[in-house]
């Protein structure tokens, strides 16, 4: 079976789906926190960076893979909760601009802590390199990690959807994202809802860290930054305050990134970020409230 269209092959297609899946998870992670706190967490990429470093250290210290992954989850969740307590909550009542710049500051701070602690060359990320080996699927060789990433992303999103629609906490989170004040007057506990969003968001960051670091040779302090900026663009493109459009936005930009990275010749692929951002800007000009948003959408002045 072939898929010969503009150099597009099945493995490239699979990589696009996989990257799209991971970006979708990141998009939801950013979107959930925005929903309850009205805060765009620019430091999300640094959570992923921290997770990737945890994974790299785990394998360096000779942890079995499951323990490295557990360690990665622990570090990312701990950092998420810390960020929430030290930065997000004190700033909850401030303007969106101040909150955005504050998360910018946190991102810069964490990146420089990593730089100070691990150096600009970072660490080699060999923990799960074995997953880069291909599977033979009907004569087409597709990297294991591509299949696993996509399947994991879909699994996570399905579980989240069940959490949001079938549990009281999920219902409370959705209500808080729509009208926090009224939700509190009905007895919805602000702290629980915020913690819930921060923890789910942190879990997704940890999953993304594992998936993204498999395909990289080294983990450096800027790990995940570029991905986060792209995801942010994707989230805004989709519509920030709605889980499904945000997911689609994140997926679209990840998919485009993965596909274009595969099909463009190398003298053009170095301009890949330009193509993606130019596309984002054009879409924003046509649909300022997001590609998948119905009607009004959120207009936060930042």
């Amino acid at each position: 079976m072939t898929l010969a269209f503009l150099n597009l092959t099945w493995p490239t297609f699979a990589n696009g789906l996989a990257l799209g899946g991971v970006y979708a998870l990141m998009a939801v992670g950013i979107g959930l926190v925005f929903g309850v706190l009205r805060l765009v967490n620019f430091a999300y990429g640094q959570l992923i960076m921290a997770g990737a470093f945890a994974l790299a250290f785990g394998s360096q210290w000779g942890f079995p893979n499951w323990a490295s992954i557990l360690f990665c989850f622990g570090v990312v969740l701990g950092l998420s909760v810390l960020m929430d307590w030290l930065v997000f909550r004190p700033l909850r009542t401030h303007s969106p601009a101040v909150m955005l710049v504050a998360t910018f500051a946190v991102a810069f701070l964490l990146q420089n802590i990593a730089l100070l602690a691990f150096g600009p060359l970072g660490k080699s990320a060999g923990a799960l390199a074995i997953l880069n080996a291909p599977w033979d699927i009907g004569g087409v060789f597709i990297k294991k990690i591509a299949v696993i990433s996509f399947a994991t992303a879909v699994g996570c999103l399905v579980i989240l959807q069940l959490l949001l629609t079938r549990t009281p906490l999920g219902l409370h989170m959705r209500a808080a994202a729509m009208d926090f004040r009224t939700a509190r007057l009905l007895g919805v506990r602000a702290n629980w809802v915020i913690s819930g969003a921060v923890i789910v968001s942190g879990l997704f960051a940890a999953v993304s860290a594992v998936m993204l670091s498999v395909q990289e040779l080294t983990v450096v302090p800027t790990f995940g930054t570029q991905d986060t900026i792209l995801v942010l663009a994707g989230v805004v493109l989709g519509g920030l305050n709605r889980p499904i459009p945000a997911t689609l936005g994140g997926f679209s930009i990840g998919f485009a990134n993965g596909i274009l990275g595969g099909v463009l010749p190398s003298n053009q692929s170095q301009y890949l970020p330009s193509f993606l951002f130019a596309a984002v800007i054009v879409v924003l000009l046509v649909r300022p409230n997001g590609l998948f948003a119905r009607g009004g959408g959120t207009v936060e002045r930042v």
Binding site: V40, V87, P90, L91, H94, S95, A97, V98, L100, V101, A102, F104, A105, V106, A107, F108, L109, N112, I113, L115, L116, T225, I229, L232, A233, V236, L237, L240, Q270, Y271, P273, S274, F277, A278, V280, I281, L284, L285, P288, N289, G290, T298, V299, E300, R301, V302
Partner: protein
Amino acid sequence: MTWIRRAVELLAPALLILGTALLALEVSSYLQAYFLDTLVKVAIVVALYVFIGNSGVLSFGHVSFVAVGAWTAGVLTVPEDQKRITMPGLAHFLLTTSVGNVASLVLAALVGGIFAFAVGLPLMRLSGLAAGIATFGVLEITNNVLTYEQRIGPGLNAFSSVPSTTGIWQAAIGGLVCVVVAYAYQRTRFSRMLRATREDPAAAAAAGISIYRQRLLAFTLSGALAGFAGGLYVHLQPLQAGSLSLDLTFVTLAMLVVGGSGSLLGAVVGALALNGIFSFFSAATNTVDVLGWSFTVPSGTAELTLGMLMAIVLILRPNGLTGGRELSLPRRRSVADLEKARATT
């Protein structure tokens, strides 16, 4: 008496710049580099302020105007024989054209302004997060192109052989030019209209103010100043595309927000204070003496301190150190008046 108040509004930032320049005369040439760097940062932050301070809209794209200005001034002032060696891929027209120091700064401002206008033409129609992300996109695209396009600059390499004309006086005068232009703009009715849109967009629009046009005007002016500052910057040290990207965006935004994005004085104070602290810790990586006590810090401490300071100021004083006010003579306004003013809101 208003003219005195106005004069103070301009004099306070101007004197701060002059004071920094005079201090720079007194220190060793090694430390002088930090003072010059600080003065250039003041110019960049004031450029940022012209748009962000007056419009109340964040822009992540201004460093791209700084970069474009730096590229313009850099490419046009490297001696032709050097260009053939360091930038062989340069377009023929750029390879053969060279201009003087002042002309390169004027052109940097011009190119920065034109670029900002071209970008602003579509982007100023956006607002909120869409605008923020779009300006981010501009930064990424500019950086991406400057990094790989060897027809317009050194590509991945740093500029070399740009005449180092940004000494104390050029840095100080450059900073002053930015402050005076920002002040002059602030006194125009355009600025007042833009500030009105910041306070209450709906009311301003109802009063017949075009938010789009006012924002575009401020964006263009601020882009020109940023380009000019970029020109100053490239004449100070060998720049490369990587140093004109996210980190500089963060650092300059931090300076503006920490100083207080609502006032010109805030922009200058923020840049001086943060870059001063930043420079101190950078210098301390190679040992500094403070009152006879010498110490060394590991590299990266400067960035770390800056990040922490920024987070702390934002949490404790979200309106910045100056609270967004200009330094002015105390107005004859009693506490009771203030209470009344607050009561009506």
